[in-house]
Symmetry: C2
Subunit: 323 residues, 2 copies
């Protein structure tokens, strides 16, 4: 990636900031486009000290055309990730995760049709599927508006690849954790909540009996996958990106308590109604397509990844109070 | 349906007008909501002479709340069907086929959460699939923005069914033909174009070699399916609705020439670029789920259906000039 001009949309966010750090380290020039929607995960401090140009805009805004016009690669990570927020304001989620991407892709066609795009989708598009582990030919059955909208955003990238020759790839990321995640929100998945409470010594609450399986992916593995997905073989393809090993929520909580090395109570509580309605039970991913096509495999086991993550936040305690 | 209060969105359109005619015949009271978007298929003449109340509005408009507040059943058929139009203005297609439905479903939650909804989706959501015939567990792979947006609209109905208890069903309709279709547009599928040209004695042009299979469904079969889908067993379910018999485009053209009973040349021509990019080759549907659950099966073979359709347009020649 040395010398390549990259744009990272959602670049102030969790995964975005991690790819920005990696790209700068590899010698790319980087521009960030981020709308800094208050409830989303973006924070300018995530890229503090890095030599990057940034533009506060939604990706569908006309001003973005100038930013992307000379890019070699776009990592298109802008989006809303909250399942519960998508149910509270479905129109906004559809606008952010689908319609804005349509505007963005039209802009790409107009000003930079030769650019390489890697889009971040999510395992959330699968919802409650007929068989596990889910692979790319498993029919999606999203259970919340976020899953519907993200699926549309991902499929738009595929339509533009196949009908308009825009070199796009979309990655369905499983539950991601690691440095630079917003910890103070309860709306961005269970992992940042568990991590925050472990760091603060507060009781970790598990909804239900804790037997639900999840595959959790360290953000460094995700960054590797995003880079691997710039290969020619990935154009016009969708890939699952998950950990080879799944764990129950109870196991994940226990590993976290071990990682923080202090007493943290774990309690099993009833489901809040707004979560229960959109829960999917256990979920595991078959990521063999990306392994076969691009050679990517998850490399960071959850025990190691959680310890590294805890160490990062202990060195950067502002994440525990930043909103 | 006698005495039941029905709302038909898109009720001035092709399928909408046909269900309106049937409902009036069955003794329902009917209100129509239709935006009369100029390029779409709606025409007030389609329901001329019927005792129906109508509202010219997009389904997401706040004024629609009053219209649906006391409905027993909503047939939610509003939408854009043109594949090529969806590629020319993708944002509009997403707004009409997905975001408006989100606004609409939020309104339903607020003013009439006990209503029964049957939504019209399309076989277009499948796009280019891995195996044929497509059944409901075949992963969708839409090839145009219309397929993406209609899939999102359909999935929104399922999310509202499962998360909010709104009694919705969505039907993936195959290629529909019959009375009250707008014949003068080239953007609403191949069937109205073929039918118009046959009626006018103009050359029927087939893109490619004519071997592509389609299952064509008479609109009376579709109306039967829409009514069958109001059964309790259909709540929260998606169903394929296709003809048991598929035919090649060449066969369909030949059957049409027979139906009009005059000389109509059939020519095989090259693909226009904007169609070729989003063509899916052959497509056939497995509709066994709706047969098993609801007892619906297609009942009108294409030769009979085309003859009846031609007779209708010969008696109502204004369809050949109406825009």
């Amino acid at each position: 990636m040395r010398g390549r001009r990259c744009v990272v949309t959602g670049g102030f966010g969790f995964i975005g900031a991690n790819i920005v750090h990696r790209l700068i380290g590899l010698g790319s020039t980087v521009k960030i486009v981020d709308a800094l929607v208050p409830s989303h995960g973006g924070n300018v401090r995530n890229v503090e000290g890095l030599d990057v140009e940034h533009h506060v805009a939604r990706i569908g805004d006309e001003s973005v055309a100038d930013v992307i016009a000379d890019a070699d690669v776009i990592f298109n990570l802008a989006g809303q990730v909250s399942h519960t927020a998508s149910m509270a304001d479905p129109v906004f989620d559809l606008e952010i995760n689908a319609v804005d991407h349509s505007r963005f892709l039209e802009m790409v066609r107009r000003v930079n049709p030769g650019v390489r795009i890697v889009h971040a989708s999510t395992r959330q598009v699968y919802g409650r599927v007929a068989t596990l582990p889910a692979h790319e030919l498993t029919a999606a059955n999203p259970v919340d508006v976020n899953g519907v909208a993200k699926l549309a955003g991902e499929q738009l990238h595929m339509v533009y690849a196949h009908a308009h020759g825009i070199a796009s790839t979309s990655l369905r990321l499983s539950n991601v954790y690691g440095p630079r995640q917003r910890l103070t929100s309860n709306e961005l998945g269970f992992l940042p909540v568990f991590i925050r409470r472990a760091l603060l010594g507060q009781t970790i609450e598990i909804f239900g009996d804790g037997s639900q399986q999840r595959d959790c992916l360290h953000v460094d593995d995700v960054v590797d996958a995003l880079l691997a997905a710039t290969a020619d073989a990935a154009v016009g393809r969708i890939y699952n990106v998950g950990n080879r090993h799944a764990h129950s929520l109870a196991e994940i909580a226990t590993l976290l308590v071990t990682a923080v090395d202090r007493d943290v109570p774990v309690e099993y509580v009833g489901w809040p109604d707004d979560h229960h309605r959109i829960d999917i039970g256990s979920f595991t991913t078959d990521s063999s397509r990306i392994a076969n096509d691009l050679g990517w495999r998850s490399s960071i086991d959850i025990d190691v990844g959680l310890k590294q993550t805890i160490a990062f936040y202990e060195e950067n305690p502002w994440y525990l109070s930043s909103t």
